[in-house]
Symmetry: C2
Subunit: 143 residues, 2 copies
């Protein structure tokens, strides 16, 4: 296998993830190095895929803790298929909310009403109970 060992500098170069972040991820248990050469971390190239996975999940709004739960330590077997499915459902709900938001924004951009608040379509949105109540339940996404 071409599963070479690489130093942190190489990981940074090939993943674009800063060393400080790599150390932080390691501390959080998201990645780990095979061993140390002196003090210096030595990684396997598989860490690059793990990092890509983390990046994808982050960009979909999952927290580091959630990622940790979804994909067992170092992206492995995972007893979490149910959880993945649940997360997919969550995403689905989010997507629907965002889609309606997008439509409303487009409408607002085109609508000639003097104030967005007076536009009938916005009134509709604002009165939609599923957005007014939760405060967070929607479980959105974060940077």
């Amino acid at each position: 296998m071409d599963n070479v060992e690489i130093g942190i500098g190489e990981v940074v170069r090939r993943s674009g993830v800063p060393a400080s972040t790599l150390r932080y991820y390691e501390e959080r248990g998201l990645i780990s190095c095979v061993r140390r050469r002196g003090l210096a971390r030595v990684f396997e190239t598989t860490v690059l895929e793990q990092l890509a996975l983390i990046a994808v999940c982050r960009s979909a709004g999952f927290s580091l803790d959630e990622i940790l739960l979804m994909f067992a330590p170092d992206g492995r077997p995972s007893p979490n298929r149910a959880m993945l499915a649940a997360k997919a459902d969550e995403l689905d709900a989010t997507i629907r909310r965002l889609a309606s938001m997008r439509d409303d924004l487009r409408h607002a951009a085109a609508c000639p009403a003097p104030s967005h608040l007076e536009c009938p379509s916005f009134q509709r949105v604002l009165n939609a109970p599923d957005l007014r109540r939760d405060g967070d339940g929607g479980g959105l996404v974060g940077r």
Copy 2:
């Protein structure tokens, strides 16, 4: 008009937004009270719609600053139709990313591969350049 004046307690009761948040929003220029009765803020009921608008936008991932820019102070006329359209496009891109993420999650939940990292479909995601590069450009959403 039934545009009654109400106290902060009433706003809290009817919007569900805590007083501390209302004061914070006022400080940030997102809402404002018509006047003071002594020290106490007096709001118009329209603030309730403004708050609903803010809630919707927040739940779609916009920051308070963005909301401020999109809907001029107190949700008014706004010279920002172009910006609203731009935001809609942003949302559209986000939605597409989330949708593909959702599909991948569903696949991962069903896929029998021992490690998600070994699953061919995940390999595909991880190698998709548009997710690996940006680090943030996607401009996702936040709680």
